[in-house]
Symmetry: C3
Subunit: 352 residues, 3 copies
């Protein structure tokens, strides 16, 4: 693996190897104190994301590496009057690995075309956030011994959540996972996610209530429901209590249940759940740091390599207004096949 | 010592041990180059304080450790829509020690209840700033061999200065210190500080003029007088010259006097004093870094430890509007006894 | 060399030694992994300059050193209510070397008077930016074996460019360099630069067209032409195409030409030039990092040394409104002789 743009780019074998390294770091952190000695990570956060930024930074620092970059483009003059390509060319001259977060979909992919060093996607708009998925899988694997065969409840806003969709997609690499999709009808998973699961023979059921299914779950993945997502505010008021996890609702859950959450939480998990040993959402954040250590220990040590020249774009191909090609006109018009459709190779939006 | 919230929490023995380590670092810095190797400090500055932030950062870096965090909450998305507890839970998963500065009184104490790693109070509103006191004591001890038996002048605004009050309180750990409290009447030490000194049999005298007492002093601790603190602006204009230290006023001072200042100064010490060997305020800032090294060399190397669960708060107890409990409602209603009174265990304000 | 304020302060021998070290770092970077172990660089950017800041930071990090500071004074409380002297006194107590960028001319020189550690000028207004010149010379020397005897085209705005003037001045240390000064008449080099070259017997010719001279060049140094610099906007529109470097214009250039640019570029070099092996502007940025490593490996390892006290200023001497003496009144009234004229020793502006 040269770049990590999308979790789906990894094979099951690559993931297993990454997890083995992660697990070894958890068991013997002292063996990795100099794993990235002399290596420097560029942390390019074109939009603030403190949690993800901290996690990547501490991952690099705990490997004996170091970090530079910006946490917010407002406090930076990069991006002003300069193309993404030129910024990446410059930064990849200084760094051994680039970690980037952007509001533009496909930006990490675009960066990877010009970078002399590996690029990690730390979130590109609503598109991909592969290291969140790595954090989730590491948590489950470490605490339950594996992912295969588990019953997983996904609860909250399943319509808009990038985290949830990435998680479901990642599950195609595992066997016999059962999904309990728990959400108000207005915020159910989109039809293309249902199609994804059906095509791969993944077991799933959709329900609107949390309490009835809790006893069956090995993992309960909570996400936030934003009031703004409801067309009818009254519907929100009627529903919100159903999806708040409390200590009482946990009474009939399995002893080994894992309660997860990508954080930050607002009020979808009651504070009285925090001291329950099944609440692992803070551990999950910590496991995310270790997963990123496993990733950076590999990528930051790869040799510099000038990428092959690419075609210079001459006009827009993708019509997604949030796609990186909308503003960076020199990008090549790359196309990829997803199922039956031609899609933009940057943002995955269908073309034409 | 697990956390450093208040200098008063330390015993004299603990301080002596800390100073011995500090002194050893000053003598043999090369022996501490890897004292915090592989350790990471979180630097959470909810309000900017460049000087304190730089001091803590360089302290950690000089021990071979590393630092992440934010210098100003505006450039951070932490604190938005997240409780202090959740931020600390997350950050303490990434860090080996947390250094925090906040405008809210008692915030470091609150953080210590939830953190898996030691917490250092780098200033919590007008409440405490224990490492400033450490810097002051290190300076005096290093340059004068000790604190016991010295005559100390405190000059300027003695009514509002957190630094001054902390310094006086710290002196109860030492013997035979004489205080010359030099201030305009409007800005004299508050009555509860006088009571503090009387109860402990500490010698002090209050004067309004600086020059007459200078010859008697071993230490002259200057602080800033802010015009805004005067009820009567004319009174300020009449007074300000008296409290400005000049080269001329130093003429009759002892040869071994230490002129100290917490910095930044505005004009309370004339520039022509800077080259006098008795002016040690810039050295004092540097000693502060070494004192923080001594502290972090201990705390950052302590094992992670999940704190005991605490009660969940159900309503406000403390009425201090600047207390951390005013905004973080889940905090437990902890009470401590100060003298005769029940006080808030976070901000020390009397209850009821 | 104690401080680097102006490239002109270095002798040819000092530069040759610096380049040798730089070259050695390029050949054997692993030998320098701990060259600055335990050393800390202060990065004081009173105005944002991401590129320069990143370059200095990564230089220090790759030497095993570490960095603290601010990237923008808005996110810092330094500079508020404190003199530059006091800031430098404080920071030089924490750091082993200070890298500073300011909008005020002569500020790095001023800092060097009070600092216990070496100061590097990372740009002081329109005045000096010596490490940019180091990056330029390193690029040429590394890729062409040396600077002596080369034909160098300087193209674009030669009137206002600090980079260009510094480059020309640096050339006095080398032999037989020929300058082709390519610019619109409105933006030709200032008369004092012509005088500089004539006095030193440097060969130069001024032309308005780029294409005719390209075949003769060993180095083509492109700079940006800002529309705002033209008195007549129509003149800009008529001219701009002439100074844009395209793949087609490069057809008749030498095979070993070096196309350079200080970055960021806007559109003065067409994107289709980037993949030409003669385009070395991104390499130039990377060489700049190595040049800064060579510099910091020396300066950050120098012993601390309290500077001699200087006179306290009592009134303004220099009339340059952008000079650091305009705001920092305590600075000594230092004068230096440039040619026939008495000049301000901070900003080099003629006095009287």
């Amino acid at each position: 693996m040269r770049h990590l743009i999308d979790f789906g780019d990894m094979t099951r074998e690559e993931w297993d190897e990454l997890y083995r390294r992660c697990s070894d770091i958890l068991d013997r952190p002292e063996a990795y104190l100099d794993a990235c000695k002399g290596k420097v990570s560029a942390s390019l956060f074109y939009e603030p994301s403190t949690r993800t930024n901290f996690s990547f930074q501490t991952a690099m620092l705990r490997l004996g590496g170091s970090v530079f970059g910006f946490a917010d483009p407002k406090s930076s003059s990069v991006a002003k009057g300069e193309t993404l390509k030129d910024t990446i060319k410059m930064v990849s001259g200084y760094a051994d690995v680039i970690v980037m977060r952007t509001p533009w979909e496909g930006a990490a992919k675009a960066a990877s075309l010009y970078s002399d060093v590996p690029v990690v996607n730390a979130g590109d708009g609503g598109h991909m956030h592969p290291t969140q998925t790595m954090a989730d899988l590491t948590t489950i694997t470490r605490l339950r011994g594996g992912v295969d065969g588990l019953s997983v409840g996904l609860c909250g806003d399943l319509k808009n959540g990038r985290t949830v969709h990435s998680f479901i997609k990642a599950m195609e690499k595992f066997r016999d996972v059962k999904f309990f999709l728990i959400s108000p009808r207005e915020l159910a998973v989109p039809e293309y996610m249902r199609a994804f699961m059906r095509e791969r023979g993944m077991w799933f059921t959709e329900v609107t209530g949390l309490e009835p299914v809790i006893p069956q779950l090995d993992v309960l993945y909570m996400t936030r429901i934003q009031k703004e997502r409801f067309i009818d505010p009254l519907e929100y008021e009627r529903n919100k209590g159903i999806y708040i996890l409390t200590r009482r609702k946990l009474e009939r859950a399995k002893d080994k249940l894992l309660v997860m959450h990508p954080l930050p939480r607002v009020d979808e998990i009651s504070v009285d759940v925090d001291d329950d040993p099944r609440a692992v959402y803070f551990k999950q954040a910590r496991f995310g740091m270790f997963a990123r250590m496993a990733l950076l220990a590999d990528l930051a040590n790869q040799p510099r390599r000038e990428p092959e020249p690419v075609e210079i774009g001459r006009g827009r191909v993708c019509r997604n207004p949030r796609c990186i090609t909308a503003t960076e006109g020199y990008l090549p018009p790359l196309v990829k096949r997803i199922g039956e459709a031609d899609c933009c190779a940057f943002c995955d939006a269908p073309l034409g």
